[in-house]
């Protein structure tokens, strides 16, 4: 059943790329949209048949593939993977929808997007380390091409930087996987956390270190983040949505699945350092965001900050914080997707993202009032205002983490306040005041008249905004899939120690 999530988009991409005759952009987009909708519908179908009481893998598929190498085609989905599959399906569809029909080389463009969707789905469900690695690497090439061909002025630089960073990331992850299986004495690369028991702590720490850096580049965490702002700035809007909403989640997913769950002992040793690293990443991302004048860069740095929360929650490794990592991944995917869509609309209508010149875009008749309204909603969601999914996910992250790392959690909370600072700066500068899209001059000019925004352009953002509010008001719709998985995902004694502790905020003493 899970194979369909890989096969549908890949078949769609093949059809799109190889079908004889010429296709107009609109037709290619429609076809890609239908294919991606099928994937999304299939995820929803899986959701209907997903037993929320089973903590382990469901819909398992296993076929021998290259047995001498230990490569098995083994798939499975649990409460960690399923919400990410949903995000992949939804944001993939949104990204296709938000792509202009007039884009050049539409068949290649939409085929590459479908390849990304299939590869990411494959990575989320792969239960074999090599298979995960193959899917992890598979999404690099289309993303590189999507930035390098359809990107902005410095696209070659940004795409190459992205490729180099993530190739290093891939190598480290592969090294970590090989070492884990070889040192653990495994007969195949099938996902098996019990192998960790056969590995001494010191080698485990090295292996985990390699995975941490590998996935840390992908997430990205400070100081491995420098590829991300460049990639975002040069990528087109739909690619930024995919990048922030889905592809970065491969990093956090890997961290949780192959770090926290696969090597829990080493993880426990390193976790205070990881929590400290999370704080640095959160504060660095937030402070760097404050200093930006490019809207897109600000949202990109905001991503770095918000991904730090996931590391914090993963480091704390309580059932609640584990749930928090999943919720924050979904929440960040939705919110950053919305923010990038809106920044893209602002850029396409005004020709700039420069916050030193943009003013008053909320202007009711000549500005972008609906875009501005959605931006305010997105900003509030990102800053963790109750009623939206950003609040509940951050609340669960902090509530789950503070029992283990109170100081680091409190420092990370400062990041939430800083989020409000930079996003309010953005809204105040760009959306309030008298409408302006150029620096003031003495020349006499006609009144500003921005091109209209059609409802077709607004709808992807509206859909994301509705999901953000719906999950904010009814967070159980998000958390129910992962509660059972979260309860058994982490070391039970840690949980018992916390539950029996009189003070909920007292740090856990191992």
């Amino acid at each position: 059943m899970l194979s369909a999530l890989i096969i549908i988009p890949l078949l769609g991409a093949l059809t799109l790329g190889l079908w004889p005759g010429s296709w107009q952009g609109g037709r290619a987009r429609l076809f890609a949209g239908i294919v991606q909708s099928l994937s999304l519908v299939w995820v929803l179908y899986l959701g209907l048949h997903f037993d929320i009481h089973i903590p382990g893998m469901q819909f398992v598929e296993s076929f021998a593939w290259v047995e001498p190498l230990g490569l098995t085609y083994q798939l499975g989905a649990d409460g960690l993977a399923l919400p990410l599959l949903f995000i992949n399906g939804l944001l993939g569809l949104i990204a296709i929808w938000a792509s202009p029909a007039s884009i050049m080389r539409p068949r290649l463009y939409f085929a590459l997007m479908l390849v990304i969707s299939g590869a990411v789905a494959g990575a989320f469900v792969a239960q074999n380390l090599l298979l995960f690695f193959i899917f992890y690497e598979l999404e690099l090439i289309p993303l590189y091409l999507l930035i390098a061909i359809w990107g902005g002025a410095r696209r070659a630089y940004a795409a190459t930087k992205f490729l180099i960073y993530t190739a290093v990331s891939g190598n480290l992850i592969l090294g970590g996987f090989l070492g884990f299986v070889w040192l653990g004495g495994g007969s195949s690369f099938n996902y098996d956390p019990t192998l960790a028991a056969s590995i001494d702590l010191i080698p485990q720490l090295f292996l985990l270190g390699a995975l941490l850096v590998g996935f840390g580049i992908k997430i990205p965490l400070f100081p491995f983040h420098t590829w991300l702002p460049d990639a975002h700035v040069e990528a087109s809007t739909p690619i930024s949505v995919l990048l922030a909403g889905v592809l970065l989640k491969l990093g956090t997913y890997g961290l949780v699945r192959f770090g926290l769950q696969m090597m829990p002992d080493a993880w426990t040793v390193l976790s205070p350092w990881l929590a400290g690293w999370a704080v640095i990443s959160v504060l660095y991302g937030s402070l760097a965001a404050i200093a930006q004048t490019d809207m897109k860069k600000m949202v990109a740095y905001s991503s770095i900050g918000h991904m730090g929360y996931i590391l914090l929650a993963a480091a704390a490794a309580t059932p609640l914080s584990f749930l928090g990592t999943i919720m924050q991944m979904v929440s960040h995917g939705l919110i950053s997707g919305l923010l990038f869509l809106l920044v893209g609309l602002v850029y396409s209508k005004t020709g700039t993202r420069d916050m030193t010149v943009l003013r008053g875009l909320l202007n009711p008749e000549r500005g972008l009032p609906v875009v501005g309204t959605l931006m305010i909603l997105g900003v509030m969601a990102s800053a963790g205002i109750p009623g939206m999914v950003g609040f509940i996910s951050e609340f669960v992250v902090f509530r789950g983490s503070i029992v283990v790392f109170p100081v680091q959690t409190l420092l990370s909370l400062i990041g939430t306040a800083l989020t409000a600072v930079y996003l309010l700066l953005l809204v105040n500068r760009v959306f309030f005041g008298r409408l302006a899209i150029r620096p003031p001059t003495d020349a006499v000019t006609l009144d500003i008249n921005l091109p209209p925004v059609s409802w077709a352009e607004r709808l992807p953002s509206v859909v994301l905004a509705l999901v953000i509010v719906a999950l904010g008001i009814q967070p159980h719709w998000l958390s129910r899939w992962s509660e059972a998985t979260s309860l058994l995902a982490v070391n039970p004694p840690v949980t018992v120690a916390q539950v029996s502790d009189a003070s909920p905020v007292k740090p856990f003493q191992p």
């Binding site: 008053g360 202007n363 009711p364 008749e365 000549r366 005041g433 008298r434 409408l435 006499v444 000019t445 006609l446 009144d447 500003i448 008249n449 921005l450 091109p451 209209p452």
Partner: protein, 382 residues
Amino acid sequence: MTNTLPKTAPTKAHPLQDYIERLLAGDALLPDSVTNLMEVVGILKSYGVVLDAYAVNLKYMAADQFLLLFPFFKYFNGEITPGKLFRHWWHDRINYEYAEYCMRAMLWHGGGGLDTYLDSAEFSEACETAIQAKIRRNPLLKVLHRVFPDFLPEQVRQSAYIRGLGQFWTIMSEMFLTLSDRYDAGEIKSIPEVVAHIKAGLVAGANVPITFAVTIGGETYDLIPESQGLTFLADTGIPYVEAVFFRGTPFLGTVSYNAQAGQIPVEQSLFAYGALYADPVPIGGSGIPPTLLMQDMRHFLPDYLRDYYDQGLRGSDDMRVQICQSFQKSMFCVTSAALQGLLPHSPDTEVAEEQSANQDFLAYWMDRLMPSRLAVVQLAGR
């Protein structure tokens, strides 16, 4: 300043000298073009309909809502039905509030014979008589008048302005609707002809008396008797142009300012927030007075103007901003007519002193128009 100017024919001294010469030549401050003509006539047609509605309501308020402490139904013109009430709440109505904003701007800025008369002892006497008649059977008003003796007279002054503005707009609306009829009949073919029509209308109505009387208990009280000699042009027209076209008020939502930092002039006479200075871009902001007027005019646009707006970059999305732009152009035409009508001497005089006086007169107004939107309305486009 007058004494420093040479007695010979004026030289090109003023930065806006081109406009001075345009006005002296019988042209307008607004360039003559087919589009401008269509915009100006079309919007004045709509404005004429709206002004008439405002004028009817203002006159109703002055006469029938006189000293009502709670005038809940002042915008209903005496016709109070559930259907009308629901339409009112649903905002399917004329925004009469805009007329009151203009009235208050006039009341606040003052000027002209009406302002002088309302501060006279004669008015106070007539006012007190009417007040006494009104409060005779109303103990609440009686106590109010006893405790705050200036309150009700100030309300009556406001009523006088309501009445004065109502009378002024009655004449103006007729003038604009006639202009539209003449345009439709092919008699008006250029912007200077529009200005000439308005100027003729102002001159024709110049001496129409401004009066105000209320009937209380079957007895009529003359608050502004005809014998006072207050007239349309000098006592309402010119103060209106001064208060609404030039000075105006910095409405919240249209102008960003910090009054404590001295960004608002201390002297009212230095205000420059009127219709000729207004920024059309914020139009559409809810509740701000210019939005109210543009919203009202939107209902009565002639088809040719509506089509023109629909062809804009944002179609009907920014119609109220476009209406404001057209309205501003039309107000420069009305200003042109007023300035030409008020020239101290004939524009084609050969006498040097008279030429100099005309130059000085227009130079004064051009000084005031320096920060206005005059330069922007010269540009083609929207």
